[in-house]
Symmetry: C2
Subunit: 341 residues, 2 copies
Amino acid sequence: MGRRTTIIDVAKECGLSQATVARVLNGQKDIQVKEKTRERVLKAAQKVGYRRNALAANFRRQQTNTIAISIADITNPFFPELIKGIQDKMRDCGYSVIQLNNEWNPDIEQEHFQYMVQTCVDGAIISPSHPMTNFDTLETVPFILLTNSDLFSNYDTVGNDSKAGMRIALEHLYGLGHRRIALLVGGSMSSGSSWRRDLFCEFYREKGMSLPANMQVACDFSVSSTASFVQARKSMENFLSQNPLPTAVFASNDILGLATLQVANEKGIQVPEQLSIVGMDGIFSGEVSSPPLTTVKKNRAEIGRMAAQTLIDKIKKPQGWQTKRLVLPCKLLERGSMGPA
Amino acid sequence: MGRRTTIIDVAKECGLSQATVARVLNGQKDIQVKEKTRERVLKAAQKVGYRRNALAANFRRQQTNTIAISIADITNPFFPELIKGIQDKMRDCGYSVIQLNNEWNPDIEQEHFQYMVQTCVDGAIISPSHPMTNFDTLETVPFILLTNSDLFSNYDTVGNDSKAGMRIALEHLYGLGHRRIALLVGGSMSSGSSWRRDLFCEFYREKGMSLPANMQVACDFSVSSTASFVQARKSMENFLSQNPLPTAVFASNDILGLATLQVANEKGIQVPEQLSIVGMDGIFSGEVSSPPLTTVKKNRAEIGRMAAQTLIDKIKKPQGWQTKRLVLPCKLLERGSMGPA
DNA sequence: GTCAACCTTGATAACGTTATCATTTTAGGG
DNA sequence: CCCTAAAATGATAACGTTATCAAGGTTGAC
């Protein structure tokens, strides 16, 4: 009765061996089969309604044509474009994509690694939840990291040059005459916060300016974007009450930048006339604010595509792989929240 | 050499049959095995480092514990929370999730359906790209639709009661004294646009008001959120030049609402003092605008979880399934863009 | 015409699990 | 203590594909 038709049914139908049928229907490109037999097979397959059993093939070849993505949280507006870039490239190359959210929780992340091993994904693209993430549990699963941090310099990584990006923003503000530039960073959990502070101080030093007091704000790091935004609002409500105000704020991501903007708007501080605000990432929300948020844009789709391509290369070249570190530049995206001092 | 350890190795190690070992290690809950043997097996498994080969199991059982989600586009801010809800519930139930973007393109959607059949997903959750989507190509794959449209009343669906939601918004505006309320909808592709217009006209009629001229704006539908936003801006730049202005705008989604808000801000139209704006969906960007956008919120995570649960129920009960249509209410989320007329 | 080299095709053995049925062991009642 | 029923375990056959190697055909040069 309703048994699924197999390669054997096709073989019977066309009077050829199942080996030949397999070569025609599921063979790689290195086929060696006469045009005439190919047609016979195809016709028979059509007739009996053959459909390849992917599970059997996966089992036999011990590969799934599936890769996994491990990120913090798909609802964080930073990630969807990145994911999309990965998906698009992967789909072009015949892979499907399973996406896992670790909610910045290293334990969940480890669970996910376990899962990847269990489920035999062909590879993984990982945005590390944590500077100390242990990748040994991934065993033989090939993986690529989405970061440019020095902390992961032994691994294959694809990331934006955030340092250069931050520098561009600061230089640009300086060029516009800003001398009281403030820095807004997320809390200690965010692995990037310390280098940002370092770079910030160094920038002031380089320019021969002394760093005014009270020019750095750290707000608590939160799992969700909404919570982060609320935290940042609180910090900025306080911060933007001081006198004199800074003339510009560099926020280490757009969510913090948008919080700053909203508070400034509420307080009647004119942006950009009285206060310039520059964010980082280039998320959609920055486009719809009033004024639109000037930002250091990371091309997340491109990062995703490159990570995907790199992973595929790595999967296809199991030995002799050389660690790769790909770095993409950031670009200053001038919208409306930055002006002369 | 480095061969993977199998159930047979475990059996040898502990001197039991592979059947028994399998019962212990991979058996369902209906186990019937003595506690003592269970321990023997577990210990042996540990010793030889057994790890279940999921591919073999999938093949044998002809199921993948994987479900697919088909949506328009993960970069559309409406979707990530929905996806998250699905993922969370599915993960709790031992399923993993593959997410596919059709970019509102019915052809790509059909490709995805093909893929689902091929790849033997256990089920699918689908946000239809199109009112005429053909689901026959899904063959025996059980699926749930994310919609509440009457067009899909023969299928299992989970969706928000958008009509009721829109009505709530209009009533509320009316209650605040608004009599010149405008409607902003996306273009013809959006299957929802016609019922919105109908409901809009009916509302005016019900209230015994005559519908003023020039109170409906349609802007071209675009694939990406950014493009939609730009389109909507164009339409509203024009629309908000008229005299007299409406006192309120109901936008059929937040992106359109935010475009309206941004244009109003640019034109120096005070929101909400001169113009109230209400959107629909409750996306993150509406939280960070100035003022924050009042909106008819859809609980997308909840929709996702319910869809996931319903799909699981359907998968587990192959026969005797009764078509289910789940409808969740929308809530008015008052933020800052709505006030008295 | 022969022989080698190559191109096609065929036969068949895995792959590691689950499921079925048979067999052995245990428990319980008389 | 035996017999029966139930519980626990064992033996083994799939599942449908891919991969390996062997066998058969064809071609072309000498």
